[in-house]
Subunit: 133 residues, 4 copies
Amino acid sequence: MKSTAMLETYPATLTLDRSLIAAAIDALAECAQACTACADACLSEDMVAELRTCIRTNLDCADSCTATERILSRHTGDDANVTRAHLEACLTACRTCADECEAHAGMHEHCRVCAEACRACEAACTAVLDAIR
Amino acid sequence: MKSTAMLETYPATLTLDRSLIAAAIDALAECAQACTACADACLSEDMVAELRTCIRTNLDCADSCTATERILSRHTGDDANVTRAHLEACLTACRTCADECEAHAGMHEHCRVCAEACRACEAACTAVLDAIR
Amino acid sequence: MKSTAMLETYPATLTLDRSLIAAAIDALAECAQACTACADACLSEDMVAELRTCIRTNLDCADSCTATERILSRHTGDDANVTRAHLEACLTACRTCADECEAHAGMHEHCRVCAEACRACEAACTAVLDAIR
Amino acid sequence: MKSTAMLETYPATLTLDRSLIAAAIDALAECAQACTACADACLSEDMVAELRTCIRTNLDCADSCTATERILSRHTGDDANVTRAHLEACLTACRTCADECEAHAGMHEHCRVCAEACRACEAACTAVLDAIR
């Protein structure tokens, strides 16, 4: 990811800590991809009928992370209320998806890897949120 | 939009009122499109330099509406916390974008039309939120 | 959808026919939503294991329609090669999803409604493509 | 990115080379983020009026990469026609954006970094395309 390089070349002032934002952008991109892939891996499992909720939670988390990654990648005319609300929504999606995937982590490796990505993303969003509160 | 038809053919139980959800899905789709088009129209204005914040707010609102529309279009394994958090984030984005676009509505017709879509979406999200609180 | 109103307020010159573009934008928004909802409805069916390919095709079609709708909603610095390539990719996704959903249309109403949205979107993309070739 | 780990845990057969797909997924995620950030950095430049086409091209490329990354992250019921058409559309978007950003690379560091991400993504998409032709 070139998130750090892109933040360093931003031509105006940044109010937030660059390393916190870059870490969150990277975690969001990683989580969105892991959730998209985990939904698809669940879909290919023999026991797909037992993974319905996991698939749905994965799809929501991927959509939330993609939107939040884009919002965090913009800095022109920053509005702290918008950023905060999306970080809060996204960490709710990440926590819910991590809880769901961890419940199958012993049986499905893709759920174990995906849960790691969700927990890391939840932590990275929380760190940015703590900095802008 | 076929949102009502799709809700009527959903094979499991829906906990929320179908007409409220369908109205919100339609408002979210309309707002996402209006914001994408408004960002582009602002970009083509002679005074683009004065519309930077408007463009940024439009782009955030489009991304938020697209994610929230998708989440509201799913019902398998619904999690009220996830739905609620995304509706709250989305109405914050809609309100912020409506405020910004209304400030230029007298000068730019695309901002006037876009602000209408944002206010309608804010209201539709609030209506669903009131129903699930 | 406010796609026609937004096209009418675009401040620069449009090279393409406004009614063709507006019709395609609306069909893309409708198809993206129908495919997202159909994937979720399939996921809630008892026979979900037999609908794996349908769910995957729905998810791809929704992502393709969302991206293409956004590209068609922009007109600043239009590049016909980019527009054409995405319309071609999108109608491939729509045709594939329509074929798949039509195969279950007799058994699942959501697949019947979704197939209609995919066919309408395929036709609307083809109409724009014919106009820019 | 956990794309390699997710591919290794996919429970069914993969027809394509895992390292090619993982490299393309990573390049698509990186390019989508760089383009989103570059559009925003251009928006904050004093000479934003001269960067309109660059901003538009960035936004299209980000949307195309996001959709294509998701399609490449799914393997259930793969359809080579759909994959191929989206890779072709995406490399057109990447090439167009790279050409545009390279024209300002000497003046704007964000365009230089973004052009690198676009060229890398064009190459990664081409490599997958060559493998499935």
